[in-house]
Symmetry: C2
Subunit: 238 residues, 2 copies
DNA sequence: CCAAAAGTGTTCCCGGTACACCCATGG
DNA sequence: CCATGGGTGTACCGGGAACACTTTTGG
């Protein structure tokens, strides 16, 4: 009483929470044939939520970074060459129990044609059209929804598309990727075309490709150097 | 040999990492007098990094959500009425040790005039102009940088400003907030003005305020209903 | 009456939109 | 020669940028 009150004790008065951390991936892909946006789902083979679909996820192991864990689970499910991966959000589902789980979600975009599914024979794995996904385990519908919004935004102001297209691509390929994700009428093809070409970071290779009927299309290559000035600037493809 | 290989064991073969989780806040504020963007820093009074400035942070306690922890540390440092808070990013600084820490960062924007600093008498606490911050503890310079970018973007396509302005404000107040954060020449005042008014979600109250010399300014109120149609659409104030 | 701040209006120009139209290929 | 997809050009329109100008206060 009247003395100095103890301050900044070394041990905090409240017990700290212990966490296990999970990583959940929202992996998108584009079905260019049927013009659909797909998301990779796996079937749970353990409780809770046994036999429900969910996003591919894993718990983070000792000596493994969050991002490594994201890549690990990804590599267990599909083989891809081209990929874009970024952290989405950290969810905090259960805040009452003693041992808590945190879910750090990642968002990825993969090129379907080059993504080979790895069936492990036990649990199911499948590409689902995003507008037909069933009710998922945990809060995975929420995570998916979140990832979908992010994808739509990213496409408009950042060059993610080129991380997922093959080295050489036609403007038609690019346009189709955009329409499948953003909807049919996001822009006229010819306008999309001229806008992008004017920006000047698409390098014409001179080669052409012929796919069935129709005039052969020029093959382009993304030029990262030429894109550099646009980095972090508010740029809109739309 | 030749038998089925064991699959999906209930206990994963690799030991899982155990985490403690910290929350670090990047709290911005606008000094309208001197036209500076400020960030809240506190002085560390424990190892490591004793006597270095850092972002206000805390470890998450049992029974406390991530967001609660963010609000708690915030409430320990300042008293605010108006505030905007959102999750920034989850950093994974040390991936080698046995007991690992995760840092979930939050980003906040507070109204300076209404934000009263709480000096606890022990450690320092201060608003620093963002372009004059010293070298901080941990990776906090990186987090700050990240938060700063987010702030600049958010201002341009979302109505965060109104979460941080008082109920009634003048267009000058709003303009000043934007110029301080985005730089002096982000837009002409009169253009900023007409663009915003045309959008229609600023309600003129009819009242006016007179601050020193000059013509009195009309007081406006943000109308959330009228803003609703712009939600999630690519809107640009610039 | 002058400085300072709020508010209005006008002009110019770039860039997006909506088309119509030409080109090259397979069948 | 026609369907199919690639590629080019043009005319219109809205909105942003820059800037001049008016209005209302305090000193």
């Amino acid at each position: 009483m009247g003395g100095n009150k103890p301050r900044s004790p070394l041990i905090p008065p409240q017990p700290l929470a212990q966490f296990k951390v999970g990583v959940d991936n929202v992996i998108f892909s584009v079905d260019t044939d049927q013009n659909r946006l797909l998301v990779l789902l796996v079937m749970r083979d353990a409780e809770p939520f046994r036999d429900r679909w969910c996003l591919p996820g894993t718990l983070v192991r000792q000596g493994e970074s969050l991002e490594s864990a994201a890549y690990r689970i990804l590599a267990e499910k599909i083989r891809v060459q081209n990929l874009y991966l970024e952290q989405l959000f950290t969810f905090d589902p259960s805040s009452t129990e003693d041992l808590r789980y945190l879910s750090v979600s990642y968002f990825a975009l993969a090129h379907l044609a080059e993504a080979e599914l790895i069936a492990d024979g036990v649990s199911g794995i499948a590409w689902y059209p995003v507008n037909q996904v069933p009710s998922l385990a945990f809060n995975h519908n929420q995570i998916l929804e979140y990832g979908h919004r992010r994808l739509c935004n990213k496409l408009q102001y950042s060059p993610v598309a080129f991380d997922v297209l093959p080295e050489l691509f036609t403007l038609g390929d690019l346009y189709q990727l955009y329409t499948t994700v953003l909807g049919e009428n996001f822009s006229d093809y010819s306008n999309f075309r001229s806008r992008l070409l004017k920006l000047g970071f698409l390098q014409e290779t001179g080669d052409k490709t012929s796919r069935g009927a129709g005039r052969p299309a020029s093959l382009y290559r993304f030029n990262a150097q030429a894109f550099a000035p646009f980095k972090d600037k508010p740029m809109i493809f739309i």
